[in-house]
Symmetry: C5
Subunit: 99 residues, 5 copies
């Protein structure tokens, strides 16, 4: 799973049914120290992440719905966790601000 920072939000009116009612956030993949790594992606939020938060991003698995429908649903990129802190080499390389 990738570490990323929530950078913004995308709006899409005309979209596939599997994206209906979903919040689409723009996420920038990062190194553990917080440097940009590669290009932002659009992810479906499953945890209520806010702009600026450090999050865990992955792809979703394949689904039960696939067994009942006639078509293959698209695979969505998902935000699956809000990161509180990352420890490495005995140091805290990231800690969420709680002010």
């Amino acid at each position: 799973m990738k570490i990323a920072r929530v950078e913004g939000e995308a709006v899409s009116t005309i979209k596939h049914a599997t994206l209906d009612g979903q919040r689409l956030l723009m996420v920038q993949p990062l190194t553990p120290e917080g440097k940009d790594e590669g290009v932002p992606e659009i992810a479906v939020d499953t945890v209520g992440a806010g702009i600026g938060e450090r999050v865990l991003v992955t792809q979703e698995g394949r689904a039960a719905e696939e067994l009942t429908g006639h078509t293959n649903p698209p695979v969505r990129t998902l935000i699956v966790g809000i990161i509180d802190s990352i420890e490495a080499g005995g140091e805290t390389v990231f800690a969420k601000n709680e002010s």
Copy 2:
């Protein structure tokens, strides 16, 4: 999911049955600011996207059809949304022209 711009269309007469009757669009992956990022791909259109539009692109999931047939269907790249706007850092980094 990647952000991309619809650049053109591909025509293929001899193709796998899962591509029959599908519109094949050439899409260029982009940064949120609209710069080219990597190489164009060919995607199946599921939303009626037009040339020049900003879209969301993903892979399709695995399918019910797989449970009824004798072979593994290929995985298609799909256009799953037309992007109206992208907000980041309090600014609108992309807005679809509505003129």
Copy 3:
């Protein structure tokens, strides 16, 4: 799905059962304009593609066979279409020779 050009053929006598009787073609991924992009792969031909032809390449999905066997079959790279033409920006950036 990637655009690629059929470059050659690979021969393998000792192979997994899912590759038995399959034609294994070497395909070079391309930009829409036909420049090499990355490293050639080995793909199973599903459409009768010939050397030099421009093709669509993807991975296969997951399968019915998986529900009947005891092991996970490997995922094969597939040629799923022969490209006749690609239009972009009002121009034909690729057209198959029909001489």
Copy 4:
């Protein structure tokens, strides 16, 4: 499967149910000789790996749970083995310290 070194640990309180009770380790992908290769990822530990250990990392497959639930579970990155040694070209390019 990739070779990686366990570098640290991530803490996430608000997360998807599939990550509940899981130990989230930060892993740095490596060459066989132990040089960093690419960017660290967050992986779920399935073997009790410790900080500094050389491990095998992969994605998980698709699941039984998918057939019983209503949504597609996210795909987790997994640590699936602790590497004791790697031999190449008649030499031991990596051996775990047992002091």
Copy 5:
């Protein structure tokens, strides 16, 4: 599927059950002409490949076992064929030594 050369072997005592009793080979991805391309991976041998042999490498599909168990098995990288020869542009760019 990628072309690779078997470079060595990895030993792992503590590992996920899906790797039990499996031979873990280190494989270096190659161009068709045999130049190194990217970083070596660890693959499960399904064809009895030997050190120095040119092989076909892929990921495994999703499985029947997934329908009977309670967890998602990890996805293993597999060696699925030993390459005898590769022809391109009317020339043999690789032929296995049979001395």
